[in-house]
Symmetry: C2
Subunit: 397 residues, 2 copies
C-alpha cells in the first residue's frame, strides 16, 4: 500500500464521472490518490445518443472532454482500454500499462444484450457510443446515396429498429423526424421509406404508464412508423431480419436496442454475475469486498418489490454520489452509507416537440413533456460541468 | 411531319442546355417546337463535381433546376430516361413514352471508360452525376465511421484514385483538403490516412504543360498524396486494387476517373462509333444525316493536327451554340455554319487556393490560377442563368 490510498475508477460514464467529481470535492489534499481510466478522452451523454445516431444532432453535442470536467491537479486521468481486472492482485491491466489500487470503482458500462439471436451481433448496429452512433448516422445517409444508383433496392430505404424500450422509442422518434429531410436532400420519394419497430414483449416501453405508451405509439405511427409489437426477431441476416412466423423484412439497416448486459470483463474477473451484472451490497460493494465498488450498468440492485432496477443514467449518477461518499468514509474509517434510489421521474422523447413522461407523481405528454426532457438534460450538464457546460453543450436543447 | 418542325434535345448537360438556351433566343414564335429531355429535372455542373464528391462543397451548389434555366413557355421539358434512339423512325423511346422528331440533338453525355480492367465497373465508383458524387461523399465518411469500430481495418482509411487526368487531379486536391477535417471529426490520426493516385500513362495530366504538372504534383504530394504514375491498375477487387507488378493496395474506396467513352445508346442506335463516340461533320451532324446532331461527349472531332479533342465542358458548350445556329439555319433553309473550337484555356484546381492553368497564351499557378478557375465557373453560371444564378449558386466560389 502506498503512503496514501490509491483509488482507481474504471470508466467515465455517468457513474464514474459522478464518483470522480464528488471525490474531487470531498477529499482533502493528499488524502487519496485518484485515477480515472477511460477508453476515450471524452465523456458522452448516453441518453442523448439517439439524436446523433439519427442525425438530428451533431455528435459533438453528445460529448465533452474529460479535461473540461475534472480537475487534473486533483485527479489523474489515463486514456486507455481496460483489458483485465485482477481483484486478487488489486491490479487492473490496461492496453498499455498496469494500475494498482487500494480501492476500485468499476463503472465500465454494459454491452448490447443480443439474447442469442443469430446474426444480431454481426449484422445489426447498436446505439452505445459516439463511435457507434456516428456509424449509424453515416450508414443511414449512405443507404440513401446508394439507393439513388440502385433504385430497385428498396431495402436501402427500409429501417428496422429492434426493441421498443427507451432507446428504441427515442431513436425511432428522431429517425422518423430525419427521414423527410434525407428524402429532400437525396431526391427520394418519402413514400418509399419504411421504418419498422419490432419488439418481442407484449407492449412498447414495458413498465411505463399504458396511457402514455398508447399516446407515444400514436405519435410515432403518425410519423410513419410501423410497429410490430409482440413479435420476436428470429434472426438477423445480411439482407434484413426474420420475424415472427418466418416473415422476412428486407432491410440494409438493422439497429438493435433490445437491452444491455454487463461487461464481459466483469465475468472474466471472477465475479458472480447474472447477465453480466453483479449483485452489489447496499453500500455498492462487490460481494464479500470492502474495497471494490461496482456501479452503473454492471451493478444489480433490487427495488423494495424485489425487482431489479433497470440500468439508467439516473441510477448510475446517484450511485456515483454514494460511491464517492463511501470511499471517503472508508478512508476516514467512518460508517458507510446505504444506497437508496430516489426516482426523479422518467421522460422519453418522441422526436421534435413530443415526449411522454412521469415526474413528480404526474403524467406529462406533448410539448410540456418535451420541455421536461430538456430540463433534465440541462440539469445533468449543470451537475457535471456547471453553467459553462450548459452554455457550451446546451445548444441542442 | 407536324405543321412546324419538331426539335428534340436529348440531355441537359453543357451541350444540351446551351443548345436549348440559344434556340430559345434565336427561334421566332411558332417557328419550331422544341422539347428538352433529361433524366433529372436539374442540370449539373460536371466540372464542379469533384468538390461535392470529396465533401468540400454541398452537391446543391453543383446543380440548378432546369425550370430556372429554360423558359417553359418556349421549350417543353420532359423528365425521363432515354431507352432507345431510332434514327430510321425518327423516334426516341423514353422510359415512359415516345417522342417523334424532325431534328434530333444528342447531348446525352458519356459513360466511364474502364478499358476492360476487371472489377472496375463493379467495385469502383466514378464521378459522373449528382447521385454518384453523393454516393462517393457518403462512402468516404462511412469509412471513417467504420474505422472507429474496426481499428485494424486501415484499408478503410486508404483511398485510391485511378486516373490522373483532369477529374482525377481535381478530385484528389479536394480529397486531400478534406482529410484533416474528417480526421478531426472522427478522432482519427491523420498519419493513418493514405491517398494513392494511380495512372497508367507516363505522366499526370497528359498534354498539359510539364512545368505546371510538376508544380501541381508537388502541391498534392505536400498534401499527402502518393503518386503511382506509369502504373496500371490490373484489377479492382472488393478489397482494393492490384497495380503494376501484382502489388495489392488494400482499400475500401476506389474512385475511377480514368476517362469516359460514348454512351451505349449511341452504338445501339446503329451509329458507327470509336469508343462509343461518333465522328461528326464540321456542321456537327451525324454521318450522312442532315437532321441528327451529336454534341458533347458522344461526338468525335479532330483538331487541325489530326488529334481528337478531349471531351470537355468547353467544347460541348461551343458545340451547343453552333448546333442551335445550324438548327435555326436548317429550318430557314440558310447555309450551315462550320464548327471551329476556340480554346479559352484550361485551369485545373488543386484544392483550396491552388490551381494550375493555361489561358490567354500564358501559364498560371497558385492563387492566381485558382481565381481564374473561379472566374471560369462564374462566367458559366452567367452564360446559362444570368446574374441571378451567379448570386444563387456562386456562393461556393
Amino acid at each position: 500500500m502506498s503512503s496514501i490510498p490509491k483509488i482507481v475508477i474504471l470508466g467515465a460514464g455517468y457513474g464514474g464521472v459522478l464518483t470522480a467529481l464528488r471525490l474531487q470535492k470531498e477529499l482533502n489534499y493528499n488524502e487519496a490518490d485518484v485515477t480515472l481510466v477511460n477508453k476515450h478522452d471524452y465523456h458522452y451523454f448516453t441518453t442523448h445518443l439517439h439524436m446523433p445516431a439519427a442525425g438530428t444532432d451533431n455528435p459533438e453535442n453528445a460529448r465533452v472532454n474529460i479535461s473540461k470536467l475534472i480537475d487534473e491537479f486533483k485527479i489523474d486521468f489515463v486514456k486507455s482500454t481496460v483489458v483485465q481486472i485482477r481483484p486478487q492482485d488489486k491490479k487492473v491491466i490496461l492496453e498499455d500499462g498496469t494500475l494498482s489500487y487500494d480501492y476500485l470503482v468499476i463503472g465500465l458500462g454494459g454491452e448490447p444484450e443480443t439474447f442469442g439471436i443469430p446474426g444480431l451481433a454481426e449484422h445489426a448496429m447498436s446505439i452505445r457510443s459516439i463511435n457507434s452512433v456516428r456509424l449509424i448516422r453515416e450508414h443511414i445517409e449512405y443507404q440513401f446515396a446508394r439507393y439513388k444508383l440502385e433504385p430497385h433496392r428498396t431495402d436501402y430505404l427500409t429501417f428496422v429498429v429492434g426493441g421498443a424500450g427507451f432507446t428504441g422509442i427515442e431513436f425511432i422518434g428522431e429517425l422518423a423526424d430525419r427521414m423527410p429531410l434525407l428524402c429532400k436532400q437525396y431526391d427520394v420519394d418519402p413514400n418509399l421509406v419504411k421504418i419498422y419497430n419490432v419488439e418481442a414483449a407484449p407492449s412498447a416501453l414495458p413498465g411505463f404508464d399504458p396511457e402514455l405508451v398508447e399516446y407515444g405509439m400514436d405519435v410515432l405511427a403518425k410519423k410513419g412508423v410501423t410497429f410490430r409489437i409482440g413479435t420476436a426477431i428470429k434472426e438477423c441476416t445480411p439482407s434484413g431480419v426474420v420475424v415472427g412466423d418466418n416473415e422476412e423484412i428486407k432491410s440494409a439497416t438493422v439497429i438493435w436496442t433490445g437491452g444491455i448486459r454487463g461487461n464481459r470483463l466483469i465475468e472474466e474477473a471472477g465475479f458472480e454475475t447474472m447477465r453480466g451484472r453483479v449483485k452489489i451490497s447496499d453500500h455498492l460493494l462487490a460481494p464479500d469486498s470492502d474495497h471494490v465498488y461496482i456501479i452503473g450498468d454492471n451493478s444489480l440492485m433490487f427495488n423494495p418489490e424485489g425487482r431489479p432496477y433497470p440500468p439508467t443514467a439516473q441510477i448510475a449518477m446517484q450511485q456515483g454520489v454514494v460511491c464517492a461518499h463511501n470511499l471517503v468514509a472508508s478512508i476516514r474509517n467512518q460508517p458507510l452509507k446505504e444506497f437508496t434510489f430516489s426516482n426523479k421521474g422518467t421522460v422519453a422523447s418522441l422526436g421534435k416537440g413530443e415526449a411522454i413522461g412521469v415526474a413528480f407523481g404526474k403524467k406529462y405528454k406533448g410539448r410540456v413533456a418535451s420541455w421536461l426532457k430538456k430540463a433534465i438534460d440541462i440539469r445533468y450538464l449543470f451537475i457535471i460541468g456547471g453553467i459553462q457546460l450548459v452554455l457550451r453543450k446546451g445548444k441542442f436543447l
